[in-house]
Subunit: 395 residues, 2 copies
């Protein structure tokens, strides 16, 4: 597997466009389109929030169809917009389908941005000719920027992997820096490959990978109404199989984990990315629950921001998760430095610890000594800027 | 029922003392004692955190004994301190018991403050003669101050209620402004009464009241290792019964709700107290779950701080709680102003809404229209000062 420079534009078989439609703000790329040369198999994971946006409903309904195109807008989530919001999604997709001379059912849509406002459909429709006209493979570079909301940097990556059918490429882009919690895709994520993967394998591999990557990060514990992660693979040529599929999964996992790290690194107001590793849990479910409780504790996250090795808050958060925690068996490490071993505080070398606490990313390992299951959740710290961004970002 | 001036000092039958023991800081009241003239029945609720402090274990073990005294220290939680921490609690209580010439098993203890440090037992023992010597009924005034940690104001209250046996008094004090979540008493809370209530009635009434008061508030969703709420009632005289017990419960409920409001009003960095009211839930459990999800959402809490009527975040938080939420039936009100009715945004009078958003306390009602159950959780906003307090409060 090789990491390539750039993102989506490296994947053969797709074209892209992005325009300034003025959906909420003037003069920013906010409306974009991904079109496959042929027809694709798709797999997707979507928010489990009971309140979910029309584009999520539409894409969830259509993801098992043959897929030709993904239409994406930023700055307006088209969420909590009722019947009218759903009709707007249908209208936009239908028009794109007709211009692409493809089935209406092969176009899906994702939206991100403010909740509770109808999309400016006329404005958006007016941009459709430009979206179609400007389609080209190198415009893949524009997609990461066109889907951003409070993100401070566009996020993309691409890798190549070998198979018995030759070299294939996977390219991906993600957006999201708040309303992120490990209970679904937690954001918008679009991944493309030129490797032909059978639909059922694509589904199972994508689910496994998302579980270990996008579903294992948290920024603020808030679950979005619009979370969507989609992968497309051409429905043509000989499907890859056997060890080639393993190579594909490894490469996809590598790519999605790296994109997940980019998300947490760009967390709203975040200054740290901290891997919360639970070891020695009774079972995997317990491990995840405890990791999530620590990763989402406001007191733990403010301590990370304050560069304070406050293992007491970590122990309290793990204990509050409801999983079996015996404080007399609990051990806590910052990187490889133990702060607590079997419930007993360890005297520590403050300099060594300071070196860790000032790093932009490090790991905290909590050993429950109750079993052999493990889990990892990647979290950010909680800073003044998170408050600033979210108290000033207004309806 | 009448609200009295002052707090614990109004309750006949108890004496108090508080001293500066220098447990963590010089020159502050940090060690205090409550002693009943006779022997009391007690009832208590304690943290459900798996990591709980030695004083919690001791008090939980002893709360059903005849109770004579409560020993309390601030600034050191004596949590995550293992065997030694438990022995220290035993030692301190035993010495107080012997000085009071009472059973060791009739003294309970509460601690609050930093986690993971052993108590300075010698320093504390040295203050025992002074604690005993200075016991007096008017020193009840000092307890609220002596138990504070990051609280900015001492919190106390007292009420009187009538019964067929005459007038009785209930006095209470609470502390806590962070690590507060509605899954147990979430703090230290001491309530005294001169009304003789039978042990089993005291238990059931206290449990019901705590559920509706201290267990229905949240500040940061973090559950402490030391949460303790205790009530004492004299085990002497004719026990009150019948409608007198109802009067007692009403008065206790009123007192505890008011103390709960004081806690949220003094939330770390808080500028708002917001009542999150869920209506129309399928069952009470769902109502509580949804209320808690909204009350603990960082995005909702930062919006309250930013005085932004961001009902989209409220809908998203309710939807993410896992309870049945149909967005087409969802209605959201700030006080009596609807922002969303049956899933459709309502155009609002911005001035009227601004008047609400600038108030120090108001209610947000979320009607799920899925049933007839209700719940209320009182929450604070999330401000820069929460980050300041918790990133700078250091181990």
């Amino acid at each position: 597997m090789k990491v390539l420079k750039g993102g989506l534009e490296n994947v053969p078989g797709y074209t892209f466009s992005a325009v300034k439609a003025g959906i909420r703000y003037a003069d920013r790329l906010d409306y974009s389109l991904i079109v496959s040369d042929g027809i694709c198999c798709g797999a997707g994971t979507f928010t489990t929030n009971r309140v979910c946006a029309p584009p999520v409903k539409l894409s969830r309904n259509r993801i098992n169809n043959p897929i030709k195109a993904i239409l994406i807008n930023a700055t307006n989530a088209n969420a909590c917009t009722g019947e009218e919001g759903y009709k707007n999604t249908l209208t936009l997709c239908a028009d794109i389908a007709s211009r692409l001379k493809t089935e209406e059912s092969s176009v899906i849509m994702s939206s991100t941005g403010i909740i509770g406002h109808q999309l400016p459909v006329k404005k958006m429709m007016a941009k459709h000719p430009e979206l179609i006209r400007s389609l080209s493979s190198d415009k893949g570079k524009l997609i990461p920027e066109a889907i951003m909301t409070t993100d401070t940097v566009p996020k993309m990556m691409s890798v190549s992997f070998s198979s018995s059918e030759g070299e294939f490429i996977i390219g991906g882009t993600v957006k999201g820096s708040g309303m992120i919690a490990p209970n679904m895709a937690t954001l918008l994520s679009f991944t493309l490959t030129d490797a032909p993967v059978a639909k059922d394998r694509l589904n199972s591999i994508f689910k496994r990978v998302i579980d270990k990557t996008l579903n294992s990060i948290t920024i603020d514990g808030d679950m979005s109404t619009n979370d969507t992660a989609i992968i497309l693979s051409p429905d043509s040529g000989r499907k890859i199989s056997g060890s080639d599929l393993n190579n594909f999964e490894d490469a996809l996992n590598f790519l999605m984990w790296n994109l997940s790290e980019k998300l947490v690194a760009d967390a709203e107001g975040g200054t740290k990315s901290v891997k919360i590793i639970i070891k020695g849990a009774q079972n995997e479910n317990d491990a995840k629950k405890a990791a999530k409780a620590v990763a989402e504790s406001l007191l733990v996250k403010t301590a990370f921001f304050g560069m304070d090795p406050n293992w007491g808050r970590i122990a309290a958060a793990a204990g509050s998760s409801g999983v079996l925690v015996d404080e007399n068996k609990l051990s806590i490490y910052f990187e490889d430095i133990p702060l607590l071993i079997n419930g007993t505080p360890v005297s520590i070398d403050a300099n060594k610890l300071d070196n860790i606490l000032t790093m932009a990313d490090y790991s905290v390992t909590i050993d429950l000594s109750a079993g052999s299951s493990e889990a990892l959740v990647l979290t950010s710290d909680l800073s003044y800027d998170y408050i600033k961004i979210n108290s000033e970002y207004s309806t």
